[in-house]
Amino acid sequence: MAADLIERFKIGLWRDNPGLVQLLGLCPLLAVTATFVNGLGLGIATLAVLVASNALVSATRRWIQPEIRIPIYVLIIASLVTCIELIFKAWFPELDRSLGVFIPLIVTNCAIVARAEIFASRNPIGSSILDGLVMGTGFALLLMAIGAVRELFGQGSLFARMDMLLGGEPMHGIVLAENGWLFLVLPPGAFFCLALAIAGKNAIDQRRQTSRNEIPRRARRLNR
């Protein structure tokens, strides 16, 4: 059971990461990751919606007519996103203003519809919740990583304005430099960071693959 759980997390965080491998939900990923706190905020919101929508879709999967399943998924997701949006407005008003339209736009995040269609509609509730959890965590971690890199090199700071999420006095985070490489804060920087992240993942996978293939070859050579 524990090994199975670890395997599921490996799939969600690395092998089938929604952002890096499935390339789903790229619009919010590229648009809001200018800072770490924005990435974290949207990551948490998406994670919450994904877990809840997977649970609801899985619970109602026997009664949803396959012909009209997509509109029903969208209805479920939209009502959940409305809840999340109201929660953000109530408790994190500044973060809500900073993320702007991208909180309501979680409705159109194809990663969520894709998980409902691919996984939740044909698996039991527990497994679907777990799927939402691992996929949402994978997506959130990617958002945070890209947000951190862009903030660090683009503005010279890290974890700035965490007060939008934690409350309290405005925080400046760790300030390393006065200004940075403006390019990374602008939209092209998001594309470059995502491309480099995907290339890095592919390179690591490839290296692992070759090293896995090399060991038997060496063993064969020794046996000869």
């Binding site: 490489w181 403006l182 390019f183 990374l184 602008l186 092209p188 470059f192």
Partner: protein, 351 residues
């Protein structure tokens, strides 16, 4: 007796990439000297920084790709990229800005797309646009051209070097004392403030055609370009088409309203027009390849430059125009495939 059977081509061209690049570099030498004369020794420091980082980036990425670094370094293409980038940036530029541009040009624009011969974008222009977007403030500091009036200071070699290394001027010298708005900037803001072209052109920095200093550098660039044409390193299509694309709209607009549209001579000699026409747009890798395609490609660049200069927010638009038309090259090449004998225009065999 046995006949030796040979197949075409019977005369192989004795042109290597290295000799081509060296001749391009040679053609740029007079203009570089003029640049140093008018805008001070900063050009040389920028060139050193750009060359070191371009060559370093080339060597690094070649060894990462497990190729021999020598093969990439001895074709001098990285050096040409560095020189073109140096021509694009002001002579007072901090070294990290130049280094970023050179590294980005070679590593991302050239090698991540597959190396020399596979890059779809002109590397020098990608490097320039990246630093233009990343460090907008640093690329606005054009020093005043040496033109004999007294209201500006020239920097000594040591002061220039200090600026290149630290990014700040020596104490007691303000940016305003050494730098000037470029003629293109003066024209743009002047027109924006509803001055007439004649009024703007009476400002001394505007020179005879395209700005003091600038027009002379333009002359030397044109000389180098003509030499490349005579040596058949570049062909006439692209330079001619870039000129046409820029000058035809400029002439028409100037004839319609000479008080609010800059004259064509200003567009030809101002900014980077000539550098673009002979040296940047003619990059054999990222330009279109068929004769008709080259004409369309050049025309497109000229027209986009004119539009950006007249209606855009940047003063000059060479880099953006070249990159935009680079994107169009695959389509242009596809649509202008030359007619092959024995085939119809779509490339199908004749019945």
């Amino acid at each position: 007796m046995e006949f030796q059977r040979r197949e075409a081509p019977f005369l192989t061209p004795r042109v290597s990439v290295a000799s081509l690049m060296l001749q391009v570099l040679a053609a740029l030498v007079p203009a570089a000297m003029a640049h140093v004369w008018f805008f001070g020794p900063g050009f040389i420091f920028n060139l050193l920084v750009a060359s070191v980082f371009a060559a370093g980036g080339e060597a690094l990425i070649l060894s990462l790709r497990s190729r021999k670094p020598e093969t990439g370094l001895t074709d001098y293409s990285a050096l040409v990229t560095a020189v073109l980038l140096t021509f694009a940036i002001p002579s007072l530029t901090p070294w990290w800005v130049t280094a970023t541009g050179a590294l980005f040009a070679v590593v991302v624009a050239k090698h991540l797309y597959g190396g020399l011969g596979f890059n779809i974008f002109n590397p020098a222009m990608v490097g320039y646009v990246v630093i233009l977007i990343a460090f907008p403030a640093d690329l606005n500091l054009w020093v005043a051209p040496r033109m004999g009036d007294l209201d500006y200071q020239t920097l000594t070699i040591l002061q220039t070097m200090q600026f290149t290394l630290t990014g700040s001027l020596p104490d007691g010298i303000a940016f305003d004392a050494v730098s000037r708005a470029t003629p293109l900037d003066v024209m743009k803001t002047g027109l924006h403030n509803l001055h007439t072209v004649a009024e703007i052109r009476s400002i001394p920095i505007m020179g005879d055609f395209g700005g003091r200093g600038w027009e002379w550098i333009g002359n030397f660039l044109a000389m180098g370009g003509l030499w490349l044409l005579i040596k058949k390193i570049i062909r006439w299509h692209i330079p001619a088409a870039v000129g046409m694309g820029l000058l035809v709209p400029a002439t028409i607009m100037y004839m319609v309203d000479p008080s609010s549209y800059a004259p064509p001579g200003f567009h030809l000699f101002g900014g980077a027009t000539i550098l673009c026409a002979f040296f940047i747009a003619t990059d054999p890798v990222s330009a279109a390849t068929s004769p008709k395609g080259r004409l369309i490609y050049g025309l497109g660049i000229g027209i986009v430059i004119y539009c950006i200069r007249r209606w855009g927010s940047y003063a000059d638009g060479v880099a953006f125009a070249v990159l935009l038309m680079n994107m169009a090259v695959p389509a242009i090449d596809y649509l202008t495939r030359p007619h092959i004998v024995g085939h119809d225009s779509r490339g199908e065999q004749d019945a």
